[in-house]
Symmetry: C2
Subunit: 302 residues, 2 copies
């Protein structure tokens, strides 16, 4: 097995979307630039959504153009989240090379989140993916509530396998399996991956863990042992958990890089430069990081 993982940095989109105060486009750009300087080569830049619904993303087109104009894209993939055909049109106008689409394993979650059952969401997604494939856009697929749903509880493995299959059939090159409410445990992770291996090519799977209960690194280590080589994470641990006030969301890139480097796995990331990127955005947000590694580093300086 290859002693190397790919990290998909979701801080600028998934992380900042959770922030109530609007962050300047210049600051977002500088954050992205610092992340890329640190060696992160897949960065979710923004999402093309209704600005009245998600004001934090209203500068999506400007930010994307700023990235294209100022950063060498030869070594940077820049997926943008697209919820529907309208978002796809924006992405196409901007010549975005890669989009991400999303759904969940559970009906209740999908109905509350996007007002559609799982089946209805796939009808909508197929309109997007058909058109995206026509113009040769790469498509990444997010699957939420894989390890548990805030409304329906544990999700059956068969249901997870079925929705992964549907996403792959839309033509996504990778499915990111999300522990949306951060309740997964390493045994559950191992057991699901074993089931996935029976049905799909594991190299098409990524893991997206939340650290809500502090178990993200244990889950990531178990996933790595089972053969997963792509992980989503968010610099400084940006992003919260809407189902537990004040609790942490996305696992911090800082923590995941520390884990992998310690166990001798290459991430391509420079930890000093990553610390700089995380510090930069935390200073702008006037926030502390939920990343224990980030805080221990700060503490050792003090």
């Amino acid at each position: 097995m290859d002693n190397k993982v790919t990290l998909v940095e979701v801080g600028p989109r998934d992380g900042l979307q959770n922030e109530s105060s609007i962050v300047d486009t210049d600051v977002k750009f500088e954050f992205i630039k610092l992340l890329h300087d640190a060696g992160l080569n897949v960065i979710e830049i923004t999402s093309f959504v209704r600005p009245d619904k998600i004001p934090q993303m209203k500068d999506a087109s400007d930010l994307y153009n700023m990235v294209v104009d100022n950063i060498d894209l030869s070594n940077l993939r820049t997926p943008c989240l697209v919820p529907n055909l309208k978002g796809l049109e924006t992405a196409m106008k901007l010549n975005v090379s890669e989009i991400a689409i999303f759904t969940a394993t559970s009906n209740t979650f999908n109905i509350k989140n996007i007002n559609a059952t799982v089946d209805e969401s796939f009808q909508r997604l197929s309109l997007v993916s058909d058109k995206a494939r026509e113009v040769s856009l790469d498509i990444r697929g997010y699957l939420s509530t894989v390890f548990g749903c805030p409304y329906e509880g544990i999700v059956k493995k068969e249901q997870v396998i079925k929705t992964i299959d549907k996403l792959l059939k839309l033509g996504v090159y990778e499915v990111s399996l999300g522990d949306t409410i951060g309740v997964a445990n390493p045994e559950q992770v191992r057991s699901l991956i074993l089931e996935i291996k029976k049905n799909f090519d594991l190299s098409k799977m990524a893991m997206h863990f939340h650290d809500t209960e502090g178990m993200a690194l244990a889950n990531i280590y178990a996933s790595y042992e089972e053969g997963i080589r792509v992980f989503d994470s968010s610099a400084a641990g940006l992003g919260g958990c809407p189902y537990a006030k004040g609790a942490t969301g996305n696992v911090a890139t800082d923590d995941i890089v520390n884990l992998f480097h310690k166990i001798g796995v290459n991430t391509g990331v420079d930890q000093d430069k990553l610390h700089k990127a995380s510090s930069y955005i935390l200073n702008h947000l006037k926030k502390n990081s939920p990343s224990k590694y980030f805080n221990a580093r700060e503490g050792r300086k003090a």
Copy 2:
């Protein structure tokens, strides 16, 4: 393998010792009572040390007597930390049934901590253990800096094995292997345990992880998979890290219980009652918990 672990609760001693404000004896007692009510049956009560050196422990005798007088000890083990013969005399006067002794794998750490090299510390310890065995006291042994020393860096496995052997020869019934500065990783943990298995009976080993870099649960899970069945932890995650200001120390009992219950391992602990014990001491200390599970639970209530 038995689907069950033993937790050694170190909050009242190791945790509170790190607090600068002196906690009332009544509060310490109530905390211990709540922990025992929650199902924790091994609780490190206090340490018999010089009150001018560690003022937080100056009520050690009073607290121990309060515990003996008011809690049924038939289902509670109450180890007390003893650094020297003077501490042992106090323990014997109080009829303490179990003591804990401590040293480290590295000379520099030991010299800074107890002003003795590793070898010198064993000379001192043997005076304590000889006398303790004479009066049939059970002895637990703590070994610090097993996975890294703040002064000497990585500690060689041979050195760890050698000091474990010396501790066992003093007659300790269990060696608690401490990741004092919280730098261990799951591969290192697995590798050390494999070496330990070659030399000793694994059932005599406990793990004592710090969550300084957020990796404690990953390390605990790896330890469990390798056969370790005894873990030290601290309710609410009490206790800091003297080598990284503001960083977290002892892994939280709340987090470790959540991990084990999720993977179907019995701890004997009632999570609601444990939450009550942690909340009680946090309220008294006017502190937040570094435990992500504790905070997520609080957030879900909000």
